[in-house]
């Protein structure tokens, strides 16, 4: 799972308290760096689609990078490289994603999150 994907994920347990199902907290993470081709124009177009606060806090908690407090309005080449590295090249290989609202744990194994719930949680 790349961090851009984590940016979209939320807990979907039915009883999860509203407003607390996102973002999922990543615990016990083993990270790897992917070899993804850098495309400045692509990254520039991607930025407005990201939840910057969540990307920033996740990158910080995982020790990947310290992104600026606010999303750069006119990103420099360096900004774009940094966002590329954080969102597209950083892959969570093994981890647990924990919901702050209901405590549900979603495992990530071999880079693949398993988001299935038991029948009683749906």
């Amino acid at each position: 799972m790349r961090l851009i994907t984590h940016n979209m994920l939320q807990c979907h347990v039915k009883a999860c308290p509203p407003g607390q199902s996102y973002p999922l907290q990543i615990r016990n993470a083993e990270l790897e760096a992917l070899d993804a081709e850098f495309n400045a124009d692509f990254v520039r177009r991607l930025i407005p689609k990201l939840d910057w606060k969540v990307l920033r806090s996740t990158a910080f908690e995982l020790g990947v990078a310290q992104l600026p407090e606010e999303c750069p309005a006119e990103p420099t080449e360096d900004d774009l490289q940094m966002i590329h590295k954080v969102a597209l090249q950083t892959r969570v290989k093994e981890a647990e994603m924990v919901c702050s609202g209901c405590g549900h744990v979603y495992p990530i194994k071999d880079g693949v999150p398993n988001m299935l719930l038991q029948d009683h949680e749906i």
């Binding site: 979907h12 991607l46 689609k49 749906i122």
Partner: protein, 232 residues
């Protein structure tokens, strides 16, 4: 078929079957589908989307200028997607693990026809619309009850089992996994997949039930019905 509860029917005749047939299924999924390819090729650069029920990830690499998260209910199919280097996760279309309005596009190719009641099909479609951004686009393909004249298949009812035959010589003997319905036919192991075959207008009508969706195009292509919709 009616004797099984809906969840169990899908478990035995969809989820488990795809997990067992995954390598053979994947080896047969390579033909392009022009309407899907055109939809993906027409997306704006830098778009973020989800392919819900992505199978072996056949469409995940079509347009390199967009970012697509693939997902499937079958973890064995997702193993194949991961090995191909695509972004993927295991999840259920009936309850997607994505936040509201976060994707520019969604594709649902040959998925909704595996849901075994009108309520479940509608629930799956509504989930696709929920995670789509206003202005974003959705493409849904489902198998048609009305098969083309050159098709070898003829159906007399809409809810059917369609056999998947795996050659024993290549893929080994029948799976003994629990909750699996299996038979043998000569050199093949036969698994029955559940399908709901859509009649003309049925898919479109379901999409139109959502107050958030606007149907932009619909049609028939190679034994399938499709709808392209946008979110208001």
């Amino acid at each position: 078929m009616d004797s099984l509860p809906k969840e169990k029917l899908e478990h035995v005749h969809v989820h488990n079957v795809y997990n067992i047939i995954a390598p053979h299924f994947s080896a047969t999924r390579y033909k392009p589908w022009p309407i899907v390819d055109n939809f993906l090729s027409g997306l704006d650069k830098g778009s973020i989307g989800a392919d819900v029920g992505c199978g072996n990830g056949k469409y995940l690499g079509v347009n390199p200028d967009v970012f697509t998260v693939g997902s499937d209910r079958s973890d064995k199919l997702i193993d194949i997607v991961r090995e191909r280097g695509f972004e993927a996760m295991v999840c259920d279309n009936l309850r997607l693990p994505y936040r509201d309005s976060c994707f520019d596009f969604i594709t649902s190719i040959a998925v909704i026809h595996h849901m075994s009641s009108p309520e479940r099909r509608l629930m799956a479609i509504n989930e696709l619309i929920r995670v789509l951004k206003p202005g974003g686009h959705l493409l849904i393909f489902v198998w048609a009850f009305e098969q083309e004249s050159r098709s070898k298949r003829r159906f007399s009812e809409q809810d059917v089992f369609v056999p998947w035959k795996m050659p024993k010589a290549i893929y080994g003997p029948a799976s003994s996994q629990p909750n699996t319905a299996v038979a043998e036919d000569g050199g093949d192991v036969v698994y029955q997949r559940y399908y709901h075959l859509f009649r003309e207008g049925e898919l479109e009508e379901m999409v139109r039930q959502s107050p958030d969706a606007m149907v932009e195009a619909c049609g028939y292509d190679r034994d399938n019905w499709y709808v392209i919709a946008s979110k208001k």
